[in-house]
């Protein structure tokens, strides 16, 4: 391989960056361990270690010598694309860390550390009042962050940019405006035709966990799960973590019934994992070994989960193995299973939502976050507003705050501005589908034969390989020749659920 980093100053930066990378590597493992294997009493010491290492990372990124070096390198001439990408990412990180006073970062870390626990109990006990003061503090600190980071039109833009570089609330509103009515129409038609909207008996049938585990691992292996670079473990909330270019780890959970939930967690997280396993190998130990953004990352998980995993072809291909190992499937045809995988029905809980209703859950959160951040809505009014809005959009109303405003962990972690990236990802996954249909002949036939090499190669060339070299908007233009376009998503849904053929 040609040395893609050649500039002397850039090489010096990368040498210094190794320690930052190593801290991130360690923090990734600490976080993975906390969710999977750590004995519960270990949490106190663990949280001190994590906050210390986080401060240390911040310290190294904002060290005067390091910044000077990055500044000097940025002025060099004849930098290549890779070097420019690297410096862009570093300058962005430095800018963000410099704009935010350490005091503010520490305050946020402290309140969210407590808020996580308070939120968990508040959700269990359906007690929003307990969580309210923490949420108020989190919103007010987030507003402060936005003010320090700066924005042109809305404070929300400053936070959004942290997760999805270059995205503004104007963009997000436009996206939602362009899909919400058509989504609603799709939903209404599905409901009236009832084929995909009725409760399915498989949602309530209990599975044997060992058999289900076998199915999950078998499916992961069909997708290309490689034990030498990959792990699948169990955690309360499924997630993916990248330890490096050659070590990606996903989790799923076994709730004991409704087997599509654990299966699709595996497929979803596999999509995230594959992204990180297919970066350019030269990005090892550099900040380019990351996704372009959270939205682009989500597009990969959604692509595998929805476009591939929820297709008739995939369903047909895995059906024999499922039937063999999950005895309760005996009574169900492949069409039954396909319908079960593709139930579309308004529900209260975001993480259980289907392809069609999912984005309404995001829209709701997006609007509430924006209003609260701008001070137009008070935190104490969020529960009632939440309930009215979800009823308004989906026709279902939470009986408790636990199934309403308290359902997500995100706010307790201080992740305000994060939710829209889920919609970006979902939309982009459908856009990628349209492009791959043109580039990879017999896409769906390949799925029906569980042949994924060409598909993975295409995703690598278009997305994975580039890591975080380009900001998301630029990556799309370069690789797909166009901007994010929600039209693909809507027409995919219309064809799938109404045209009954994709």
């Amino acid at each position: 391989m040609d040395k893609i980093f050649q500039n002397k100053l850039v090489l010096e930066i990368l040498e210094k960056y190794k320690v930052i990378w190593s801290i991130e590597h360690a923090m990734a493992l600490l976080s993975w361990d906390s969710e999977t294997y750590m004995p519960e009493d270990g949490v106190g010491e663990r949280s001190v270690a994590v906050s210390q290492l986080d401060l240390l990372k911040q310290k190294f990124i904002t060290e005067e010598d390091f910044i000077k070096l990055v500044d000097r390198a940025s002025e060099e001439k004849d930098l290549n694309e890779y070097e420019l990408g690297l410096l862009r990412v570093l300058n962005r990180a430095i800018r963000i860390y410099r704009l935010l006073p350490p005091r503010l970062i520490e305050e946020l870390a402290k309140v969210t550390e407590e808020a996580k626990i308070v939120w968990r109990n508040a959700r269990i006990n359906n007690n929003f009042k307990a969580f309210e003061p923490y949420l108020e503090k989190i919103f007010s600190l987030s507003k402060e962050c936005a003010d320090y980071l700066g924005y042109k039109e809305h404070p929300y833009d400053a936070l959004l940019d942290l997760y999805e570089e270059g995205l503004t609330s104007k963009d997000v509103t436009q996206i939602f405006d362009s899909i919400k009515y058509r989504l609603k129409t799709v939903l209404e038609k599905i409901e009236s035709e009832k084929e995909f909207s009725e409760r399915h008996p498989l949602e309530d049938i209990e599975y044997d966990k060992d058999s289900m585990r076998k199915v999950n691992f078998w499916v992961a292996e069909r997708l290309g799960y490689d034990r030498k670079r990959f792990r699948i473990d169990v955690s309360a909330h499924p997630f993916t973590i990248h330890m490096g270019l050659r070590d990606a780890r996903i989790t799923t959970r076994y709730e004991g019934k409704d087997f599509k939930s654990t299966l699709f967690s595996v497929i979803h997280e596999y999509g995230h994992a594959l992204y990180g396993l297919q970066h350019n190998e030269a990005f090892m130990f550099t900040p380019l070994a990351n996704g372009a953004s959270l939205g682009v990352h989500e597009s990969q998980s959604r692509f595998w989960e929805n476009i591939i995993g929820r297709s008739m072809q995939f369903c047909t291909a895995i059906y024999p193995f499922l039937k063999e190992n999950l005895s309760f499937l005996e009574k169900y045809s492949v069409e039954d299973v396909y319908r079960y995988f593709n139930i579309v029905r308004p529900t209260l809980i975001r993480v259980d939502a289907d392809e069609v209703t999912y984005n309404f859950h995001i829209l709701l959160r997006y609007e509430l976050e924006k209003l609260t951040l701008a001070g137009e809505v008070k935190v104490q009014d969020l529960p009632t507003l939440w309930n009215s809005m979800i009823e308004d959009v989906l026709g279902v109303r939470p009986k408790t705050d636990s199934e309403g405003v308290l359902q997500d962990i995100h706010w307790s972690l201080g992740s305000i501005g994060y939710f829209p990236t889920y919609t970006i990802g979902t939309i982009l996954s459908a856009q990628l589908r349209s492009h791959i249909l043109k580039d990879v002949p017999n896409f769906y036939e390949k799925i029906s034969r569980l042949e994924f090499n060409e598909i993975k190669e295409w995703l690598k060339n278009k997305v994975h390989y580039w890591g975080s070299m380009y900001p998301p908007k630029e990556l799309l233009k370069r690789m797909l020749g166009e901007e994010l376009n929600p039209e693909y998503f809507i027409s995919y849904l219309e064809k799938k659920y109404l045209g009954k053929s994709i």
Copy 2:
């Protein structure tokens, strides 16, 4: 609890130390993960992370400001015992890091990183020649370390002190001199009486791994394994790692036959784990949350493994559960199992050795290390010398270097001077036994009822609670009122194997 650290400078030190502690915490997890769950291709990135964090830790300990602070604190008056202990440990770490040039530490790290892999293959292929140049380099760098660290009589003393503070080769030689003839006599008598020395059919019987796992967990629970603070996993070589005062992790391995091996690994490692779980809680985040030395640590594992685990009382107490879960035990009485647990027979492999022959394996390594370090023996002559010496002492001669000089991982890791701590631990475990017999009434009766609370409390008060506050020799004098005394060990063995009553 009273604040045991009160001095302002000491408190300042502890605040600064948190980041060092956090790096150690992360490194402990990285190391645990490497041996248990890491996908194999992750090793390249992992080793970079580990060496970077190691350098970082070193950097923080030797930072000028930190050293000045420790210096200033050390001059304070009215420091209490805890503060004095803390400063002693820190001054020792600083002294060692300052004496060793970073270049030397890096060279050692580099050669051992490669040597680990080379050694593994050399052992598999019985090819000492492949390992020889690495071992030469390791001995020569170790000699350099010894020279930098300084010593009065023998370069070996400088290395020994790294693992067992204050121990000299003169001490070690004296200890071996005082035990080797009597050990030999014990061994000869056992062999002539044949009760404990004959090959036992249980050594060859295969077990079902799931049943064995059940037995291991059950035994660990009887000892006091607390899931909230404790894990048991599987690794190629059993070990214990402390993530903190409330998170200790042990491993065992399942080789498929000779079930005592996996069972006694669990009991042995439990002893190490318990030590770290019973330190003074005020030592959290400080360098005092460590064992007093490797030898003292080993005394704890040996105490549980040999004194408790290999006793007739323990064997009798766990026998019914063993029989219930390991069906092949049907034909064997509790006396059979006891004899199987206590087979004494000269063998070639140290890790399989029994209470009596074990120390001869250590003596051999100790003498070879000392000779090689002093340049009196050449690395190339080690295989032949090894074989002659072990034959001389135990009457068995390796057919290959894999069962001889290549059997241990230690030298490939650069751990020269480490082996004697195993003998210290074994001797000390018997000494602790004599003391606990006086302090805890009906010690063996308690074991036969699997009641360990009082025993754990005694170990806590005498050893665990104090962490690394006192150097090992001082700890012994304070807690037991005497120095390390091999007499206890020999007379324990004589009584157990010859007197047939302890």
